[in-house]
């Protein structure tokens, strides 16, 4: 009997050793970052992004540029959901993330009472940057000039057939009692800077049966429903930089009143890391400045719809525009 026990224990140890042994290369930089004393002064920069195609592209771009300039990185692209990513940054588990300027209103709600600030790209960025610098020692670097905000998309044919260009046109269409069904996230439907704001600004009101509300903010599913006309959906929530717009023949309804907050993608860096790598800010600045709405839509489409590798897409963009040799 004893023999079996020993065998069993031995087997378990074997599995353990095998399991952990295998993972050493992938795990070690992430798990024990602060253990070696200051022999190596500069630790690699941990780059992390959200679980979506835009996160993959920006993450890979940042890593490629930093590596090309002699800065070591740890690849944590597609790290997790937005709140997890923010937590990880605050805890110092990751050093450099991609975030959106308008999110500042959720990170510091007590200082974000004046909602009009969030409709202005510059002011929103400045306030978020200031609050994060003072309270969290996080640096917001130069953002891209692409507003990845919540908008309403409709099919091109539908827009042309009903002469809809702006939200005012759409409100008139709805108020005339025409068939309309919007698919969106719960967060958008219940937000005063989302659907409620749109309804107030343009004077329309959607009935319960004109709405399909999903719990998550995953627009890929919504746009699929819109493009396939599932359940008579003819409008959907969309994010400004989504690559689907072009591929699926959809258009965004213009919003002259600028209801939703502005969300510019920007790299956010931990203050301590910025001190040991002051050059990061200058390296990323020209790249983010070069990315406008259209450029970002195209890159996103290549990853999400053409199914290309995010690293390859990022590499091609950086080389085409002379950021990498």
């Amino acid at each position: 009997m004893k023999k079996h026990l020993i065998l069993l224990v031995f087997l378990l140890i074997l599995t353990l050793v095998f399991g952990t042994g295998c993972s050493q290369p992938a795990e070690s930089p992430a798990e024990a970052p602060a253990e070696q004393p200051s022999e190596v002064e500069k630790e690699p920069v941990v780059v992390a992004t959200m679980l979506d195609s835009e996160g993959s592209i920006f993450g890979k771009m940042i890593i490629q540029v930093l590596n090309a300039n002699g800065i070591e990185t740890v690849d944590k692209v597609n790290f997790g959901t937005p709140d997890i990513l923010r937590k990880a940054l605050e805890n110092g588990e990751v050093d450099l993330v991609l975030d959106y300027t308008g999110s500042g209103q959720y990170y510091h709600p007590e200082d974000a009472t004046d909602t009009s600030i969030w409709n202005d790209p510059q002011k929103g960025y400045e306030l978020t940057a200031k609050l994060d610098k003072e309270k969290m020692n996080l640096l917001w670097l130069t953002p891209a000039s692409a507003n990845n905000t919540e908008m309403i998309a409709i099919k091109r044919e539908f827009a042309e057939a009903n002469n809809i260009v702006t939200m005012t046109d759409l409100a008139a269409y709805i108020n005339d009692g025409n068939p309309f069904k919007l698919i969106c996230s719960a967060g958008f439907a219940e937000n005063s800077m989302g659907l409620l704001g749109y309804e107030e600004a343009y004077g329309f009101k959607l009935k319960d049966d004109q709405l399909i509300i999903l719990s998550s903010g995953n627009t890929a599913e919504m746009l699929k429903a819109l493009s396939e006309g599932t359940n008579d959906v003819n409008a959907s929530l969309v994010y400004g930089t989504d690559g689907a717009l072009d591929k699926m023949n959809l258009v965004v309804v213009e919003d002259p009143a600028q209801v939703p907050p502005v969300y510019l993608p920007a790299p956010v860096l931990r203050g301590e890391v910025a001190e040991s790598y002051p050059e990061i800010e200058g390296l990323l600045k020209p790249i983010f400045e070069s990315l406008n709405l259209e450029a970002l839509q195209k890159l996103n489409a290549q990853v999400a719809y053409d199914g290309k590798d995010a690293a390859a897409v990022a590499d091609a963009y950086l080389k085409e525009n002379g950021f990498l040799k």
Binding site: M1, K2, H4, L5, L8, L11, L12, T15, L16, G19, T20, C22, S23, A26, E27, A30, E31, A32, P33, A34, E35, A48, L51, D52, S53, S56, K76, N78, F79, G80, T81, I84, L85, K87, A88, N91, G92, E93, N218, A220, E221, L223, K224, S227, E228, A244, K247, M248, V303, A304, Y305, D306, G307, K308, D309
Partner: protein
């Protein structure tokens, strides 16, 4: 014999349904749009390969109803030939493209659809009823992995997704294995000890079993959310914790939650394992003057081992699946791929992330089951009705 032929019939029904009624694949002009279904009829035009597949399925029909016709030995070859069907079908689908239009094949891809999976499942079920079913099923799955694995199916959506993330794929696979195995291993000792305490002390039993049950019924995701709060606090305020690499997100919370989840099957099985050792056996051990420790190590534990082991099997198998959730909180693993696929509505990436999880769970189950059977044999007691874990 009756059971075998039932399996064969169910399998055949599924296979025929898949082949005839449902599309085998879907041609997608890009990754997300709804594609053009490819069914057997459209594929059949001039394709000898598909004809061969159809012939084989018909042969499978003859095999299933072999006792109605002449029960010839030749028919036993059929399940072996079926080994190649899913792989060949993938090869064929990869070359398919709807007539009349030209597509950018860099971007366009062919997804495997319901018909293919039904056919695949049908073949496996049919084989499970044939002699040497285990080997047949393994070979079928291996062949189906090998065909795209050596690059024969460049346009298959699963293959394209795999090529895209090849490097990450293996890294995440390793993390997944590490996370699920180590967390189960860590639960082992406390689980068995708790089971022993339950066996010894009636009073504590309810409390302990209640507590481990509580972990089990709490939804994994909310448990993850809850555990992050104290961990974040600790890592911010206790430097030692932070130095150990324990943070509120990532590896640590996933590890802890998975360990807690493994406690129930191990504890419950250890308890019932110790409990079903007959009192007379323990009494005689006492009578020959064994100490408590000796009784535990030389009598109780060996006799309870098969049952405990089946608890470990349950724990590991369920853990492999639960580890997917680590992907949501930065712990990595196949979950990272699955949730990325969900966020992009890319079904094939989700499937690509799921297949290894299913395979791993099955492999662990089979391997542990083998050990368990062996142990049961050695102990010489049948424990088949004592699977109290789940």
């Amino acid at each position: 014999m009756r059971k075998t032929s039932l399996k064969a019939r169910v399998g055949l029904t599924l296979a025929v349904l898949g082949l005839v009624l449902f599309p085998l694949g879907t041609f997608r002009p890009n990754r997300v749009v709804r594609g053009i279904p490819l069914n057997a009829a459209t594929l059949l035009e001039g394709k000898s390969l598909l004809a061969a597949v159809v012939v084989l399925v018909i042969a499978a029909g003859l095999f299933v109803f072999r006792d109605r016709i002449r029960n010839s030995m030749v028919l036993y070859v059929v399940p072996w030939l079926l080994v190649f069907v899913p792989g060949l079908l993938m090869l064929l689908l990869s070359q398919a493209s709807p007539a009349g239009e030209s597509f950018d094949m860099e971007v366009a891809r062919i997804s495997l659809s319901s018909g293919f999976w039904l056919l695949f499942a049908g073949i496996l079920i049919l084989q499970s009823g044939a002699p040497r079913g285990g080997i047949l099923m393994t070979l079928t799955v291996l062949f189906a992995i090998a065909v795209p694995g050596v690059g024969l199916t460049p346009h298959l959506a699963l293959y394209k997704e795999f090529i895209n993330i090849e490097v990450t794929f293996y890294a995440e696979l390793r993390r997944h294995l590490t996370l699920s195995l180590t967390s189960a291993a860590v639960a082992l000792l406390p689980g068995i000890l708790l089971g022993y305490v339950c066996h010894r002390h009636q009073r504590l039993r309810e409390w302990i079993l209640g507590a481990v049950n509580l972990f089990q019924v709490a939804p994994t995701l909310s448990l993850l959310g809850l555990i992050m709060i104290p961990l974040t606090y600790l890592s911010r305020n206790v430097p030692l914790v932070a130095d150990l690499g324990i943070r509120g997100v990532g590896f640590a919370p996933a590890f802890i939650v998975l360990t807690l989840y493994c406690l129930l099957p191990i504890t419950a099985n250890a308890f019932s394992g110790f409990d079903q050792v007959e009192a007379a056996v323990v009494d005689s051990a006492v009578a020959i003057g064994m100490t408590k420790r000796q009784i535990f190590r030389q009598v109780l534990l060996p006799l309870a081992l098969p049952v405990i082991f089946s608890g470990i099997r349950t724990a590991v198998t369920q853990n492999v699946g639960n580890t997917i959730l680590a992907g949501l909180i930065g712990g990595g693993g196949m979950g990272a791929l699955i949730f990325l696929g969900l966020s992009q509505s890319a079904t094939d990436l989700v499937i690509l992330g799921t297949i290894p999880v299913v395979l791993m769970a099955l492999i662990f189950d089979v391997v542990f089951k083998l050990f368990e059977d062996r142990m049961t044999q050695r102990v010489g007691v049948a424990h088949d009705s004592l699977d109290t874990g789940i």
